[in-house]
């Protein structure tokens, strides 16, 4: 499809014997190939096409695919990034269950924290994907991409989509075990959870890319990650209900982007379960802005807009030349 248009082939002509494209090679190349008996055929000359939208799409795809290949090769990473959500869900969740049973109105505490744990799994994977650009910089691969005749924005987009895909995949694994914590497997719910995971994965990767544009050392990036991810996780209400919070925490909670992923997920899960309205109001009251209940679509919009803003900043940062 798009790639076809980028290739400068006309009316079905094979592009290889493009003798006319490089008029000079006709004379220069033939003695050269004659001197090397090893190569029976003439040199396969390649002409790099000029910049086109197809070329940019191809660049996005190739960077995206590289992320997937790298991720699939790194089995350890897949395994370790699942440890944390399981710890939270089954160790912390089970351990705290009896302690908090009075406040959960009979709802399984693990079900309650499930959306937060899902978000955390997505968030960590997305941040790790973004970290790979710091890695690429340290190991030089970034330069290989930076000198290619494509826009930097294509590279950043490809990287961002790649990170988002990998993180959403990780989210899908956590969604797959939803049944273990009494979350029903209903298509609408699964799709909503996955959609929100994808959106969150994209936004967090964009955030990571934005940070990676300025941070050149892995250690610093990891430190930043710890500093950003854990507070975001705790403040978002992943572990508690956002009802009757102290004022300062309520404000922080509304600022925390993760709030807008955890909240719609929890409301969706509860809506698909047989839970009394009073319990729902206590455990998943929904985010309010000055008393207004923010609907799911607006919450998704908040994440999307934040993601796009950070992506734009990342693109601008990476497009700078010394």
């Amino acid at each position: 499809m798009a790639t076809e248009t980028s290739q400068p082939t006309t009316d079905g002509q094979p592009p290889r014997p493009r003798a006319g494209a490089r008029p000079s090679t006709g004379s220069a190349a033939s003695p050269a190939s004659a001197t090397s008996p090893g190569s029976a055929h003439a040199i396969a000359q390649v002409r790099v096409p000029t910049r086109s939208i197809g070329g940019e799409l191809r660049a996005i795809r190739v960077v995206w695919r590289r992320e997937l290949i790298r991720f699939s090769r790194d089995r350890l990473r897949i395994a370790t990034s699942l440890v944390q959500p399981f710890l939270f869900l089954f160790v912390l969740g089970s351990g705290l269950s009896s302690l908090v049973s009075a406040g959960t109105h009979g709802v399984n505490f693990k079900t309650f924290i499930y959306p937060g744990v899902l978000c955390m799994a997505v968030m960590f994977t997305a941040m790790f994907s973004a970290a790979s650009i710091v890695w690429d910089r340290e190991f030089g691969f970034l330069r290989e991409m930076m000198v290619a005749p494509v826009r930097r924005s294509s590279l950043v987009l490809g990287k961002c989509f790649g990170g988002a895909t990998v993180a959403a995949f990780q989210g899908a694994i956590v969604i797959a075990i939803a049944g273990l914590v009494e979350v029903p497997y209903e298509l609408g719910l699964i799709l909503e959870l996955f959609g929100l995971s994808l959106l969150l994965a994209f936004a967090i990767t964009a955030f990571g890319m934005m940070a990676a544009a300025r941070i050149t050392q892995m250690q610093s990036f990891m430190a930043l990650m710890q500093m950003a991810v854990m507070p975001m996780f705790f403040i978002s209400g992943a572990m508690f209900s956002v009802v009757s919070l102290p004022r300062w925490l309520a404000i922080l909670n509304r600022i925390d982007p993760l709030t807008y992923a955890v909240d719609p997920m929890r409301r969706a899960i509860f809506a698909h379960m047989n839970i009394p309205a009073a319990t729902r109001a206590a455990l998943a009251p929904g985010v309010t802005w000055w008393g207004w209940h923010v609907p799911t679509l607006v919450e998704a919009g908040v994440i999307a807009v934040l993601g796009l803003v950070m992506l734009t900043i990342a693109i601008v940062e990476f497009s700078r030349v010394e």
Binding site: T25, V62, E144, V147, A148, T216, V321
Partner: protein, 349 residues
């Protein structure tokens, strides 16, 4: 539609561009005019001018921190020049960055391969980034991997490759899109002597097989000998530019090195008795004389200082460097502006 007109126009435009780039040998592969790069206070490149003819092997020789890499990075559109002008394959490195990038291949000092991918995947990724037409990828891939002798290892993960194999794979990758100019930044640094010479074998073979201009930097004197012409660079300036033979001929003097217990006395005696200006280089008293071998007996007879050993050598590029800068390249390296190098490193991350 628009695509039709575009397609019809493209070959013609390409032809025109190629014609101007290298059709007649009139247009040089690289031309640089008063190019300057400043990093804050530090002037890494202080106004250099040179031209590289088409199909030439052109070398930049100089100690680390001389500004070689900075120059290459400017030519590759990775670093924005402070002032001056540079054209690569007929395209301006500031105004036509994309055109420049399409026409160059790059092999950096540090490896830029992805160790998680196989050799072939690395090259395919490159082919896609450069938009190499799909039908051409397979034959071209085999060809470039054959050139560097890695075709059998194409399915191996790059992480399992040795330093020399990685460098060879990078050369193959740099060639994949048939660039007009291949830039090699210190192509053999950090490799053992055997691998170094095999890399040079590939480069010389390449010169015969491909219609390509090779632009490289090195701080190894012996490697500069492979070049058609070399520019000697020191502290951000080009101090000499010619073929290796012509440069050596320009020195005209043989180099004599003597070991002596009292260097200062020996230098003084040389000045007094023979009117020769000697320097201490790499721990030995060194000076240049015409016909060095005939001079040695006189030296022993008339110096009046004990000499523990003596050696005479024909002028090398090292002597060329020394005659222009008064120091050897290794000494220059040791005392060289480490600061400058660090700045350059920092900026090139």
């Amino acid at each position: 539609m628009t695509s039709a007109t575009h397609d019809e126009g493209a070959p013609a435009a390409a032809q025109a561009a190629n014609g101007s780039a290298g059709g007649g040998d009139a247009t040089p592969a690289v031309s640089v005019k008063s190019l300057v790069k400043r990093y804050g206070e530090v002037e890494a490149v202080r106004g250099i001018d040179f031209e590289v003819a088409r199909s030439e092997v052109f070398g930049f020789l100089g100690p680390n921190g001389a500004g070689k890499s900075t120059t290459i990075n400017m030519l590759c559109t990775l670093v924005w020049p402070t002032s001056g002008e540079a054209r690569v394959a007929g395209h301006d490195v500031m105004r036509e960055r994309d055109a420049v990038r399409r026409n160059i291949g790059l092999v950096f000092q540090d490896t830029t391969l992805d160790g998680y991918l196989t050799a072939e995947q690395n090259l395919r990724l490159h082919a896609e980034l450069y938009g190499v037409p799909r039908e051409t990828v397979a034959p071209r891939l085999e060809q470039v991997m054959e050139i560097v002798g890695l075709w059998e290892r194409r399915k191996s993960l790059v992480a399992t490759f040795s330093g020399g194999m990685k460098r060879r794979l990078e050369i193959a990758r740099g060639l994949l899109h048939s660039p007009r100019v291949l830039f090699l930044d210190e192509p053999t640094v950090g490799l053992d002597p055997q691998t170094r010479s095999s890399i040079w074998g590939y480069i010389t073979e390449l010169k015969q097989r491909e219609d390509i201009t090779i632009f490289l930097t090195t701080h190894y004197m012996d490697e500069a000998e492979y070049c058609d012409r070399i520019a000697i660079m020191d502290q951000g300036r080009i101090i000499a530019l010619d073929s290796p033979a012509a440069l050596k001929a320009s020195v005209g003097l043989d180099r004599v090195r003597i070991e002596t217990p009292d260097r200062d006395a020996a230098i003084a005696a040389l000045r007094e008795r023979f009117e020769l200006e000697a320097q201490v280089a790499e721990g030995s008293v060194t000076f240049g004389v015409p016909a060095g071998e005939q001079f040695v007996p006189r030296l022993f007879a008339e110096l009046g200082q004990p000499i523990t050993s003596v050696s005479v050598s024909r002028p090398s590029l090292d002597d060329v460097f020394m005659s222009y800068t008064g120091t050897t390249i290794r000494d220059a390296e040791a005392s060289s502006t480490d600061h400058l190098r660090n700045v350059a490193r920092m900026m090139h991350r």
